[in-house]
Amino acid sequence: MTRELLEGNAAIASAAIAAGCRFFAGYPMSPFTGLLESMSRELPGVGGVCLNAESEIEGVNMVLGAAAAGTRAATGSCGQGIALMQETIAEAALNQTPFVVFNMARNQQDYFQCTRGGGWGDYRTITLAPKDVTEAVAHTQLLFHLAELHRAPVILYGDPLIAQTRVSVTVEPVDHGPLPDRDWVLDGTGGGTGRSRQVWTWAMGKATDPGPGPDRHWRAVADKFDAIAATESRFEQAHTEDAETVVVAFGTAALFVEYVVEELRAEGYRIGWFRPVTLWPFPGAALTAATTGARRVLVFELNAGQMLDDVRIHAADRSAVRFVGGVSIAESGLAYGDLMDAPVIRDRILAVLPGGPAA
């Protein structure tokens, strides 16, 4: 494929289709809307279906149905819309239906929503937070693989800078390796065989072939998430080996932090940065290692301090953790405010560094 100038939303849509997504249902909400529009434009051409779901709840349940029937499927929204999907995302995690949720958020204030959720029960959602459009394309393709590999709903946590920035990108199918059998798929052929299939959060099974029931099933699902936590965390870092100050940031904010930290590094500051690429599972062990020698662990996020919890849990020395982020919203409510800006971030970091570069 040639390089195209694509809005992030359109690039992600291309990536989803390249990853085999053939069903999409969504409801407009800025800045996610462009992704829905791209899907509605592109999917029919590849034999897929894009539905204008009448609401987020209906959309995510259509997707749950399509996914249970064996199709790679996705939905998306942001903020309030994702809040409305909580019940269903939890349900899918517990009944093990794989699909992708594109959370093209308005800001970074939904870290808890993605990583702890407001669904019910013991479930987790793999959440990738790309730093730019190019990475969002890669993450999208990876996510369809992870969803199916682990039979779970997964989240891409984007933002306006991902959704609405246009960049030159190339989208090509990626092979992420083999996947397990899909013998759980509902295709209708089980009827009358005595071995008809069932997708059911309670996992009671059939009278002739009882399932584990909720006690054992939910424990098994919790164990599965523990296993995912142990293997699927991803991160990126630089200069942490000798850094006295490590700045932790996720998503596009990490791009800004990287920019500022590299600048400061060039000026002689012993500073490094750490970025959780997966917000869940949080790369805790890596963060512990990255902060072992640090005197200061700064957390920069565009919210009131949410990832802060995970950093506090995993920083080598909890007392070294300082929050330097904050809530910052454009007047429209639809984008970041002034804080998402390299010079401002630079000032915030310098404000907590005692003295000059030597420190």
Binding site: R22, F23, A25, V49, L51, A53, E54, S55, I57, E58, G59, N61, M62, V63, L64, G65, A66, A67, A68, A69, G70, T71, A73, E87, T88, E91, N95, L186, D187, G188, T189, G190, G191, G192, T193, G194, S196, R197, Q198, V199, W200, T201, W202, M204, G205, K206, A207, T208
Partner: protein, 260 residues
């Protein structure tokens, strides 16, 4: 009690020449249900399974079941089934049907599931003309949670949350789901039956059959509302269920086909 009664031996097949005209249970049933004595829902289940068998679509059918007493049928129907969230069955069924148009897709939902939690789901699916068949088991109460007022509880009906009977002033009017659905252009077949009498049972089965035929013909959305007894949620003895149904639900929700 005192009069002698001649009782025929019914412990095994007759020893005189005879032809079996009705089996107790469809072969797609995998076990016993645990619903209350006199409940109407198992009858509806039987009809549904018989229709699938008679139309010979058992091996290309996918069911989506909501939350209510009928939810436990998931354990005993030999059909591929998604147990979905309360109210969401029509959306799940939509997703399934759109990616597997060759399958027959149905939902089984109660009045609480369809007229309360998921009213919007079924109406939107009907308006879209989704080629699915929704089956509403309407007993006018939340049976599974013990008999509270739903959007279909009829005026005057006593429930645990309308102790003095449903009163329009406070609780509003009951919603005739089938009528509402029939008013949407995407609806190709809409009917209302009841399982309170043998005749009603036979009629309801014909309705279910036509609904699935409509779906298979690709004509659009189909819905069969089935009035079912819930003696437990109505606080009446099991044997008063059919009479209660006839005097309450059936008065507000006349039986018959609503599409032409």
């Amino acid at each position: 009690m005192s009069r002698e009664r001649i009782t025929i031996d019914t412990s095994g097949p007759p020893r005189v020449p005879a032809r079996k005209v009705a089996d107790p249970r469809p072969s797609l049933l995998l076990g016993e249900h645990s619903l209350c004595p006199g409940c109407g829902e198992p009858v509806a289940l039987r009809l549904l399974l018989e229709v699938l068998q008679e139309l010979d679509i058992v091996q290309r059918t996918i069911g989506v079941v909501g939350h209510g007493c009928y939810g436990s049928f998931v354990r005993i129907m030999d059909v591929d089934v998604l147990q979905c969230l309360h109210g969401r069955a029509p959306s799940c069924a939509t997703g399934i049907k759109r990616v597997r148009p060759e399958c027959a897709v149905f939902t089984m939902q109660g009045d609480g599931d369809m007229a309360n939690e998921g009213l919007q789901e079924v109406l939107h699916a009907a308006a879209r003309g989704e080629r699915i068949t929704c089956v509403l088991l309407n007993n006018g109460v939340f049976g599974d949670t013990g008999g509270q007022l739903t959007a279909t509880t009829v005026l005057g009906q006593r429930t645990k949350t309308s102790l003095a009977g449903r009163d329009a002033e406070t609780h509003g009017y009951p919603i005739p789901v089938a009528d509402l659905v029939a008013g949407l252009r995407g609806s190709a077949y809409v009917a209302r039956g009841a399982v309170s009498t043998a005749g009603g049972v036979a009629q309801t089965k014909r309705m279910l059959r036509r609904a699935f035929e409509t779906q298979l013909a690709g004509a659009g959305f189909s819905l069969v509302e089935i009035l079912t007894m819930c003696p437990t949620g109505w606080f009446v003895p099991a044997n008063e269920g059919p009479g209660y149904l006839g005097g309450s639900l059936e008065q507000s929700y006349p039986l018959g086909e609503l599409t032409t």
